[in-house]
């Protein structure tokens, strides 16, 4: 929560900085992005180069984004939903505007192989361009885990999902982020089912697996709260977004509290996700929105963002501009084998969505 407030204050400060005394007819772009998901200097540079003011607002759950967009007239010009499920559902609902690629020449900078992974839900990539991507996996303080469970595998989801390991690790703190869409697919896959399954028996098995470790969990926080707990050393094992773990590791190192945090993508196959930049159908400033998206897709801009937030981008031209320790960090840019084993979760239909929400609610409740 404190972080949301900080982000809000930062956004206000940003809004006040460049264009406060600007003339009334100055162009504006209203951006709605995840918390802690950009390099603030990039926004200043955009305003300096184009004269377009950026009103930057943040969300920390996809539900918040989808809720605002579903009501219509959200007032946002650029949004950054995750490809599945939110981008797919917004697309289906007719809430997105097709992008005018002639005005986004930098879209050519994107990696076609990664864009193909988003084309499942957006044939021809007409509505969304990848902003950042990443995986879901384990964030840990390996030293403390080793001390409590020396025989547990550090690169497998069974570290979390095997009650024998979870029980021993409970004293140093385990947390799972509060997101059915980002956790259930990996659990289903770990149990040998399709990550998109809505088969009642398979969902029940996932429910049993989650309930079995539920007594050993310290909390089921929102992703930003989990990041903070991990950085503060309040937990030693977390199931979280890759970049959140990397940011937590960075903060822990800065605070110098003597704990080292690492990210591990599960060996059996990590869930990949792609956050795409899109323009709502009723965006008030589509011209500025196109300009903003085109600006972000420059290699040097993307390199700055990846450096700041610890998530990989989809512009290969940014790689040479990254510091070697980021470019070669396999927790930022997974190796070919991890990528080959990875999966992208699908978008269940409404009934399946409720069944999954119910599994999640029971997991939270522990009964």
């Amino acid at each position: 929560m404190r972080r949301i407030l900080l982000a809000a204050v930062a956004a206000l400060a940003l809004a006040a900085l460049p264009g406060a005394q600007a003339p009334a007819q100055q162009q504006v772009v209203n951006v709605y992005n995840w918390t802690d998901y950009i390099d603030p200097a990039v926004i200043e540079r955009f305003t300096a180069e184009t004269g377009i003011r950026v009103r930057y607002d943040v969300f920390d759950t996809l539900e918040a984004l989808e809720g605002k967009l579903s009501a219509g007239r959200s007032g946002y010009d650029v949004i950054v939903p995750t490809a599945e499920p939110t981008f797919a559902r917004l697309l289906r609902a007719g809430a997105l505007r097709p992008l005018d690629m002639a005005r986004i020449p930098n879209a050519a900078n994107l990696d076609p192989a990664l864009m193909a992974r988003v084309a499942n839900v957006d044939p021809g990539n007409r509505h969304g361009l990848i902003y950042l991507w990443g995986s879901v996996g384990l964030g840990m303080n390996a030293e403390r885990i080793r001390a409590l469970a020396p025989d547990a595998p550090l690169d497998s989801l069974s570290l979390l999902l095997d009650p024998r390991h979870a029980r021993r690790l409970a004293p140093c703190g385990i947390a799972v982020m509060d997101s059915a869409t980002d956790v259930l697919p990996s659990v289903l896959r770990h149990l040998g089912f399709s990550p998109d399954s809505v088969v009642p028996a398979e969902l029940e098995a996932a429910q049993r697996a989650l309930l079995a470790i539920r007594p050993y969990l310290r909390s089921i926080p929102s992703p930003p709260a989990l990041l903070e707990a991990l950085a503060a050393g309040e937990i030693c094992l977390a199931f979280a977004f890759s970049g959140d773990v990397i940011q937590a590791a960075g903060r822990a190192a800065e605070a110098n509290r003597g704990h080292t945090i690492t990210y591990v993508a599960p060996r059996q196959g990590a869930q990949l996700w792609f956050d795409v930049m899109a323009i709502p159908a009723d965006a008030p400033n589509p011209d500025a929105a196109h300009a903003f998206i085109n600006f972000l897709l420059q290699p040097d801009v993307m390199a700055a963002i990846t450096t700041q937030v610890g998530y990989p981008n989809a512009v290969p031209g940014s790689l040479p501009l990254l510091a070697a320790e980021i470019r070669e960090d396999r927790s930022v840019y997974p190796d070919a084998a991890t990528l080959a084993d990875s999966f992208v979760a699908g978008t269940p239909a409404a009934a399946g969505e409720r069944a999954r929400a119910r599994v999640w609610a029971r997991f939270r409740a522990g009964r």
Partner: protein
């Protein structure tokens, strides 16, 4: 003129939103902007009872409603006990002092609600102020688990809603006829007897009003249980949120909100009967 404006405000600010929520409960969820088909369209009635069937048949929602009413009741009861003591104390203070005490009760209202709840997060967390102080004092070795527990949630609720109880109780107690209590004392009643036979019964309407002012908003509270409560706190506010945002089933969310409202009308009706007596 004034009365017409009053009715207009009541219609626009109270009746219209209520009717919209009520109608939405009979709509059909769909994929679109907005994600709902209204119960009346160009071809007349097209609503469905599906959302109500779901909300009434699934024990998940009953649990959520029950948990919410329970939390609201506990919050209301604690606020009543604490608030009554505070109001009694303020009413007994010299008039100049009363203003200061009341200002102190109201002061937290001038700070953002989220900020106050977040302050509790900072106080109660494992590496928070309370645990740090206790550990530095050598009283505990490992941090006490306080954040994300039912206790933290109730603490936050009482903290947030206490002023709603203090103010009506103070208003009633400050205006009470002290001669009645003096008479009772002169006739030999002890302090507790005076309290229970004179002060409390005379303050009964204010007690009921204070309880309802806390109970009703507390039943729909979302933010405090989310930030301070444990993951097992599945309150109706969260269930409505989940239907609205996660499954995008606005009719189910509306039906649930209507059901909560209907349940909250019961204590209000009971209060009316008490007041009429």
């Amino acid at each position: 003129m004034m009365r017409a404006a009053g009715w207009l405000a009541l219609g626009v600010l109270v009746a219209a939103p209520l009717l919209i929520v009520l109608a939405m409960g009979f709509g059909t969820a769909t994929s679109g902007v907005p994600p709902v088909i209204p119960p009346w369209g160009a071809g007349g009635w097209q609503g469905s009872l599906e959302a109500w069937g779901l909300v009434l048949s699934d024990s998940f929602y009953r649990d959520a409603l029950w948990q919410s009413l329970r939390l609201a009741f506990i919050t209301g009861a604690l606020c009543l006990v604490l608030g009554f003591g505070m109001a009694l104390g303020i009413a007994a203070a010299p008039p100049a002092r009363q203003f200061i005490w009341l200002a102190l009760v109201l002061l937290p209202f001038w700070t953002g609600f989220l900020l106050r709840v977040s302050a509790w997060v900072g106080l109660l967390r494992d590496s928070g102020w309370v645990n740090t102080m206790l550990m530095q004092a050598g009283l505990i070795e490992t941090p006490l688990r306080m954040l994300h527990t039912e206790g933290a949630m109730i603490l936050g609720m009482v903290h947030a809603y206490l002023p709603f109880a203090v103010l009506p109780l103070y208003a009633s107690l400050a205006r009470r006829d002290l001669t009645l209590e003096e008479a009772a004392a002169d006739l030999g009643a002890g302090r507790w007897r005076v309290l229970f036979t004179i002060t409390l019964p005379l303050a009964a309407p204010a007690l009921a009003a204070a309880f309802l002012l806390v109970f009703i908003p507390a039943a729909g509270e979302v933010v405090i249980p989310e930030l301070l409560g444990g993951p097992e706190a599945l309150l109706v506010g969260r269930a409505i949120w989940q239907e609205f945002f996660q499954t995008l089933d606005w009719p189910a969310a509306a039906a649930l909100a209507t059901a909560l409202l209907a349940l909250l009308l019961l204590p209000v009706a009971a209060f009316q009967r008490l007041a009429a007596r």
